[in-house]
């Protein structure tokens, strides 16, 4: 597999809008929360405490956080099989996430959904989805509903570049553009569809696809949370004004395997490539560098945040491990509303 790694200039980009110090710290807290959460998920898998598999978001944190920080609390998101980051960024609670991952009763879906199906109505999360591009219709439909109801909400559809293979995406992009539906399509291009480089499955210019529908399309570095945030803020603003959908392409990389069990990866991507991304384009490392360079936070302040998060994560795992399984009788509840 001939993956071409374009190592971008990792120089700190200048943000077009001034971001407050508090916001920068918020980015840090949210991104680190996702990182620590996912590390724990991996541990739960390795210790055979978590049923099934999980797809880790480590390496891609800046996208979920940068986009969700530009949203209103009542805006909608839809997510993917690699969804923990989106859920947390939109405000999900760590303990209920862990409980869901372990199939326990206090989980977000009472243990019925698991890793790939976490939904949380209170935070506008319409659900992760285990069908690639499966949520494209749902997000666009939610946007249509928001428009019909005049609620001024928008809907964000997160998906991996693999979803570009699915026809559904093109059908709904067409309608979103035709009817100016308030949808933000966020394509997280982590370079691989499972075990195949996206250049082997995706013809032509990726950007040209949404543009063909007249959708404003922006391609950015998904490892720089400042860039993701300011770009998302601008697009969300114009979408909310009724100018129609937008499409955001974020270049990124998943640092772990396709899922937790994907350990031997050299047949589809080199160790060298992984190291390049991890050492030069880790979104958290880049953020910390910026925080320090711009004197937004010192080591002590960052350590304090980390300490708090570690306690939160630890408590969450503890909570989930001790939580009861759902009652057996729940198996045939909720088939119909």
């Amino acid at each position: 597999m001939n993956s071409k790694l374009k190592t971008k200039n990792s120089k700190l980009s200048r943000s077009p809008v001034a971001i407050e110090r508090e916001k920068w710290l918020r980015f840090y807290r949210q991104m680190l929360k996702i990182r620590l959460f996912e590390e724990q998920v991996n541990q739960l898998y390795l210790g055979a405490k978590m049923p099934g598999l999980a797809h880790l978001y480590i390496g891609e944190e800046a996208i979920a956080v940068g986009v969700c920080e530009a949203l209103r609390g009542d805006d909608y998101i839809t997510s993917t099989h690699r969804g923990h980051g989106h859920c947390l960024a939109k405000g999900a609670a760590v303990e209920r996430m862990f409980a869901e991952l372990l199939g326990k009763a206090p989980g977000y879906c009472r243990g019925k959904g698991g890793s790939m199906h976490i939904a949380d109505q209170e935070t506008g999360n319409l659900g992760a989805n285990a069908i690639v591009a499966g949520s494209a219709g749902i997000a666009t439909g939610a946007a249509m509903s928001a428009k019909m109801r005049g609620s001024n909400q928008i809907a964000v559809c997160f998906f991996g570049e693999g979803a570009l293979g699915q026809g559904l995406l093109y059908e709904v992009m067409n309608m979103a553009s035709l009817w100016k539906l308030p949808t933000l399509f966020v394509c997280e291009n982590n370079q691989y569809n499972e075990y195949t480089h996206y250049q082997e499955t995706t013809a032509g210019d990726l950007k040209a696809r949404p543009e063909a529908f007249g959708i404003e399309t922006v391609s950015i570095d998904g490892q720089d949370v400042g860039v993701v945030y300011t770009t998302a803020l601008r697009l969300v603003g114009q979408i909310r004004q009724g100018k129609g959908p937008a499409f955001l392409i974020c270049d990124t990389y998943r640092f772990h395997g396709h899922h937790v069990g994907d350990i031997n990866r050299t047949y589809y991507r080199s160790k060298h490539e992984e190291e390049e991304w991890k050492s030069k384009r880790d979104p958290l490392v880049l953020l910390v560098a910026r925080l320090k360079a711009q004197k937004l936070a010192n080591d002590k302040a960052l350590a304090k945040i980390e300490e708090e998060l570690r306690r939160e994560i630890e408590a969450g795992v503890e909570f989930a491990l001790n939580a009861p399984y759902p009652d057996a009788a729940e198996v045939d509840q909720h088939v119909y509303a």
Partner: protein
Amino acid sequence: MKAPTQKTPQVTSAGREITFGQAINEALAEEMRRDPTVFIIGEDVAEAGTPFKVLSGLVEEFGRGRVIDSPISEAGIAGLGVGAAMTGMRPVVDIMFGDFVTLTMDQMVNQAAKIHYMSGGKLKVPMVLRTTLGATRRSAAQHSQSLHAWLSHVPGLKVVVPSTPYDAKGLLKTAIRDDNPVVFFEDKMMYQLKGPVPESEYTIPFGVADIKRAGTDITIVATSSMVQVALRAAEVLSESGISAEVIDVRSTVPLDKQTIIESANKTGRAIVVDEGYERYGVTAEIASVIAEGAFYYLDAPVKRMGAMDVPVPFSPVLEDQTVPTPELNDWCFRLARQVPSLRGGTPGADRQIDAPDVVVQAYQRYSVSGLYCIDLERRLQRKVTDNDTLGGRRWDLKLLA
């Protein structure tokens, strides 16, 4: 469909055992060597050899021109398969999870299934769509379904549901040589199951059920993932003196009605077990075949056991309830005791059997899975025991590598 005449070629050359996954791999390799028009297309089928590693090595032998990695475009690759099949090729389309056949439905149902008929017999669609079925991998509602009944409903498609490495190999070779669209379902949990497969070339015809175990008291008709479960159940029953006959239909279309009816006539009691949803499912079809064909010989109503009519839940405590497995023995015992025979004897009627205990014991015994067991052992660095519930439906450990 005419009643089949040819019976199963028996496994003769004792010795070699390979896994279900290897059997699939061998069938594909042999057919690709034999016929240059055969090719494979699907997601991550080349170097990755699919997430289940079933196709490992094929791209090395046949190259990327015949083992083609596709975009994540199920509708598209099914459509390409139909068109290529109509024009001289024999595509084998790989749909990773059976749940994703829903994305291919127009191509399979409105196109592939109907083209031969609509063209007055002029065009034909010799393609195979390989996909998977089976729950208990803790993969939740969109990666666990067994949707073979959907395809079985549509005239023009053939549907194959093998249960052993031997059958898988022989049936897949037949599928590739068949001039019709064939949908081939593989149980994900069975890929590591080992069984005897001769070195020499063989094929198995469609529409010929296989009597996996002969018996006299009760007939268990099973498909795919449930055949091994039925065999274990039969073993447990035999310890209590009940003789169960296990029939593996092997293909739901064409269906070998004759073998099923003959067995039901003989035993007078039948259970049909299949992992698809019970409602409007494969069990319903087969139960009606028995009801129509063996009515005057039945001592008890035919019992159907399919997956619970709920989306497959994630939590192990919920998911395990949805597969027919744990209840099977219970029902065998109940039926065996029910209704004194109208035909003189009273099989089972006078037996004092404490069924529930045996049920629990039997279920634990089925509980040792291929894929997950190996994976769990790697993670835990110890042998898996019956207490490790994370792994899901499991076969007898002895069957594993």
